[in-house]
Symmetry: C2
Subunit: 202 residues, 2 copies
DNA sequence: CCTAATTAATCAATCGTTTGATTAATTTTG
DNA sequence: CAAAATTAATCAAACGATTGATTAATTAGG
């Protein structure tokens, strides 16, 4: 494998597990089998590695959402697809999702912060557009759109970040099998919640 | 002020802003006006300071909830009080809440991790008891209790951790005035959501 | 006077980064 | 084509700075 790539892979794993500050360039070098100097050679700095990882990951984010929004289906069906897509992607990459939120909550490293914030913000706009469309068409009841989105994203995030014992008695999110069960429960719950909540009063 | 106390205060501020690893003992000393050695003199180590801060903060957590649960009111009224209490406490201490979640998501420092996990877990049990009670009494519809709790806590947490521009167009959670507006919107939204969702089918 | 509190100075260890040298591959030139 | 020049990739070693922690000496308080 490419040395540049192996550095990125090792760094991502370490950043996820130990945090950015908690990871040393020596660890990255050791874990990737590369010489320390290669980190600065390819990425300029430790932060450069971090930025490269996040940039790469964020790329795939927006595509999925915009495709859903442009689909020729009802707003409710769009919203259901958004819930599925979000839950799936986040629960399939909990370690990375945690790291992203750590970085967002710390707000050191401004370049990184802005990058993540923009990505989140754009995703949010797509969902907002779907819900607003539903309200205007009379498919949805009039609700606090931003708060509804906070509920959808917050619920998914909460399930993804909670340690096993917190989300269920016996289910452990770190186990792939349990993770899939939780994912399904989460999707079912959120769909039902959204439908109940958005259903126009008769 | 007591030097021990001023160390704790300075450290909490720094840990919140810069993270645990991102804060140096020299910064704590400088900011608190104490000599570096005083940190180890009073708390044994940097981690000792951290543990002391978290322990102190967590103390006040459980009390509020158990009081609500023992109240002689309906499960729905209890749940409304829980939502109010949670939203208020977390939105009034967003910095600390972020730090707590960082620590929980990192899971370095085992002693700290267990402490927070237990605190969260116990809070969860109280809410679970309220909702289960409501279901058994027929006040609530049969729902996925854990997922409902994930929604309540997740929504609050999401509003608390999102950067200003993400939660609203113009509202900025860092401004006390905007924070109060958001808090009110959040409470109204969650109450309505819970009531709609838990209302038994006719 | 003795214990507790506080200080400045220092410790080894580790941090992220840079250096100069070396190798291997590629390009330019006669 | 072959020799010379250039480039990219890699390395061990060392850089100065900073880390958390400790020491031994000094001061303050009951």
């Amino acid at each position: 494998m490419d040395k540049r790539t192996s550095i990125l892979q090792a760094a991502e794993k370490l950043f996820c597990d130990l945090g950015y500050e908690g990871t040393s360039t020596r660890q990255i070098a050791r874990e990737s089998g590369a010489n320390m100097a290669m980190i600065n050679y390819y990425f300029g700095s430790k932060e450069g590695v971090f930025i490269e990882i996040m940039t790469e990951r964020i790329k795939g984010f927006r595509a999925q959402l915009t495709i859903i929004d442009e689909d020729k289906i009802s707003p409710m069906e769009k919203l259901m697809k958004v819930i599925e897509g979000y839950a799936d992607r986040i629960l399939s990459n909990t370690a990375f999702h945690k790291m992203m939120h750590r970085e967002l909550s710390l707000a050191q490293r401004p370049e990184m912060y802005e990058k993540i914030k923009d990505a989140v913000s754009q995703n949010l706009q797509v969902i907002e557009h779907i819900v607003t469309e539903g309200i205007e068409n009379g498919h949805f009841r009039q609700v606090d759109v931003r708060m509804l989105i906070a509920t959808i994203m917050g619920t998914i995030s909460h399930v993804a970040t909670s340690p096993g014992k917190v989300t269920g008695n016996t289910l452990d999110i770190s186990k792939p099998k349990d993770r899939d069960i939780l994912k399904e429960r989460l999707i079912v719950h959120l769909k039902e919640l959204a439908q109940t909540f958005l259903e126009p009063k008769k």
